[in-house]
Amino acid sequence: MEHVGAADLSDFREEVGRWISDNFPVSLKNMANPMSREAMAFPTEDQEIWRKAMGAKGWGTPTWPTAYGAAGLTRDHARVIQQELLRAGAYNPIGGMGVMMFGPTLLEYGTAAQKAQHLPPIVRGDFQWCQGFSEPGAGSDLVSLQTRADDKGDHFLVNGQKTWTSGAQWAEWCFCLVRTNPHDKYNGISLVLFPMSTPGVEARPIKLINGNSSFCELFLTDVKVSKDQLVGSLNGGWAIAKRLLQHERTALAGSTTTAVEAYSLRELARKYVGTDAGGRIANPDLRARIVANEMEGRIFKQTALRATAEAKEGGDVSALSSMMKNANTRQMQQRTELAIEILGHQGIGWEGDSFSETELTVVRDFLYGKAPSIYGGSQEVQYNIISKRILGLPS
């Protein structure tokens, strides 16, 4: 990792600040990042303007190589961009699974042709990707997956069923784990790529407890996949998948350190619970629990900073991603529980004019908030990883 002088960075910070104020549509200021798949699938005009501007600049994927249209910057520069976005009340419109996990994995394992084909549209935010990993019989135990790809000479023929595939109904492409050798559990899996428009690909939305349908069942029937869309070697997909899942964990672990928070617990409490004569949140029990949660949030951010600093010094922090994901998830889930509790009767709404937009956001966040301890490797699976790989506890 190259080190950057403070002077360089402060010039850069000025440049970024200026560019954001010239390009970021004011109508989007301080809106929570509309990075939910649904919102990305139906963007407003200003959201499109902003995505295209950031995409063309390459700043949505700041550290990726310039060869693919990205900015080729250091992590320090990337942090400056993130900080300036936050300061301006802006968000990074380039995201999704292509950015979080597929891109970094392809950079490592893809052929030159694959990288040239797939990375630029991710950098520009033109294409969204979906992750065809989980199956009805293969969730935490992903290696038991059964969807098979048969070798047909110049192509593979894929048959099977994936499930919980987030954004499959809106994605342009899918990175998909398939079985290419039924006799070898670990060394019989490959990673293939195909456009969602391929005949035989059918995505059926599933409704979630928060009312959204952000994921799908994905049926694959005689889907033809060109052989040049095999990533890595045939039957070598499991190692790549594990690497990809590590990128996913790391991204998920860091997600709340960069997000603009849609609401502040303290402000909600002042408004809905009130304050005492000393100006404190009126209910001491609630106050204590809110503070404890916010302290955990602050410590999580301190830990993220420490991990970044140590990574820069060459320490191996990948082992920490499991711990970070669980810590982040725990704090976030407690936060959303506290939020509905603070709202009282206004924290049980589902829809309609009796509830404000913020109140409904709190409820929907609380409901969706149950998911992060399940996806990306469940909480229990992360604890297994920590106890086996980090602590060396026996099987």
């Binding site: 404190r280 106050r287 503070v291 140590e310 604890y383 920590i386 106890s387 980090i390 602590l391 026996p394």
Partner: protein, 375 residues
């Protein structure tokens, strides 16, 4: 682990090496069982002083090395690993801070070089009751022609048995009952009218209650800022203690992991049971989080950051919670053997609860954090 300078890495390695060879936990046990009246081993303390630890935060002009608080934290963390009974925190960090921050030139000349050498032990006497409320001071100091006369009682004075000099908080009479009327005073250990009473605590370390009857004291510095010096000194004390607690928690955790990898029940290593594995993994997570908070607090002390008080409270609360969890689990996961005096688990548990009570417990610090940030 924070990014360390070369000097800091060397200091930590030296401390780790010394602790492992010269002061493993058996040394603590030996001291405890020896009936040692001071509750620390004076030869061991001489070795620590010879390594320069007592002068780590003392300016070079007064015989210290001025290595700073991160460095002091590194040493204290290592001492915490084997529960080394040492006056380093009380004298080399807490009292040295108060004198450096508040003393006049003559007072600094008189005490700091001796503290840095380890030849004098100084300590802060400020607690008066069961709860940690440092601004609640009933001890009085009345001015006379020659100096001040101190009267009152101090409780739970760390290294109060060994101290050569006390830094005592007291109220000056002209003032109100506000914090502004609090000043700090240097009182010699052999001053007439001062009596010390040993406090026997579960961690077998040296504490005393003090009684002052018209005891001669010298005001620290020129007065007027006693409370702010005390407040800053206490935050430094908390950050230093937090580092020690982190060391104890880390060690208690890894000793427990070792046991899970050796104890067999049901024809299996007990570490293979998922019920224990997940609790172990959670402890690992809390330890990593606590380490971040402690390092950030030490850094804030080092930089004199304006948000030091809140960061210190964040750290003391988090490391307190983590140490409590880990020491409880250490006993639980050891089963019956963990309940015995012969096993070290109990030593960690007992020290943990004393550290928890010192300089404000979790509840105190969560509440303080909330007050500072206006919740």
């Amino acid at each position: 682990m924070a990014i360390l300078s070369e000097e800091q890495s060397m200091l930590r390695e030296a401390a780790r090496g010394w602790v492992d060879v010269r002061s493993p936990i058996t040394a603590f046990r030996k001291m405890r069982d020896s009936g040692n009246r001071l509750h620390f081993d004076t030869d061991s303390w001489k070795e620590q002083a010879a390594l320069g630890w007592a002068g780590v935060i003392i300016p070079e002009a007064y015989g210290g090395s001025d290595f700073g608080f991160l460095s002091m934290g590194l040493v204290l963390e290592e001492l915490g690993r084997t529960l080394v009974a040492s006056p380093l925190l009380a004298s080399g960090l807490v009292a040295a801070s108060a004198i450096t921050l508040g003393g006049d030139e003559a007072q600094k000349q008189e005490w700091l070089p001796a503290i840095a050498e380890g030849t004098a032990i100084a300590t802060l006497a400020f607690e008066e009751g069961a709860a940690h409320v440092p601004e609640k001071v009933a001890t009085t100091a009345s001015g006379t022609q020659v100096g001040f006369k101190i009267s009152g009682k101090k409780h739970f004075v760390v290294e109060g048995l060994a101290a050569d000099v006390f830094i005592v908080s007291a109220r000056v009479p002209d003032g109100s009952d506000t914090d502004q009327a609090i000043e700090l005073f240097l009182v010699r250990g052999d001053a007439p009218g001062l009596t010390r009473q040993e406090l026997k605590t579960m961690d077998s370390r040296g504490y005393a209650s003090l009684e002052f009857h018209d005891v001669e004291g010298q005001r620290l510095g020129s007065g007027g800022n006693g409370w702010s010096i005390l407040a800053t000194t206490l935050d430094r004390a908390r950050a230093g203690l937090a580092a020690e607690m982190l060391g104890s928690a880390t060690q208690a955790f890894y000793l427990t992991m070792d046991y899970l990898k050796t104890r067999v029940q049901f024809d299996s290593l007990i570490g293979s049971f998922q019920a224990l594995q997940h609790r172990a993994a959670r402890m690992f997570m809390e330890l990593e989080l606590a380490r971040s908070a402690v390092e950030a607090a030490l850094q804030a002390v080092e930089n004199g950051a304006s948000d030091m008080p809140e960061l210190v409270s964040l750290a003391k609360a988090k490391v307190g919670e983590t140490l409590q969890l880990v020491t409880n689990e250490m006993i639980q996961m050891h089963g019956g053997i963990g309940m015995t005096d012969e096993h070290d688990a109990g030593l960690f548990l007992k020290r943990a609860r004393v550290c928890e009570a010192m300089y404000g417990n979790q509840s105190y610090h969560r509440n303080r954090y909330a007050d500072i940030l206006g919740y």
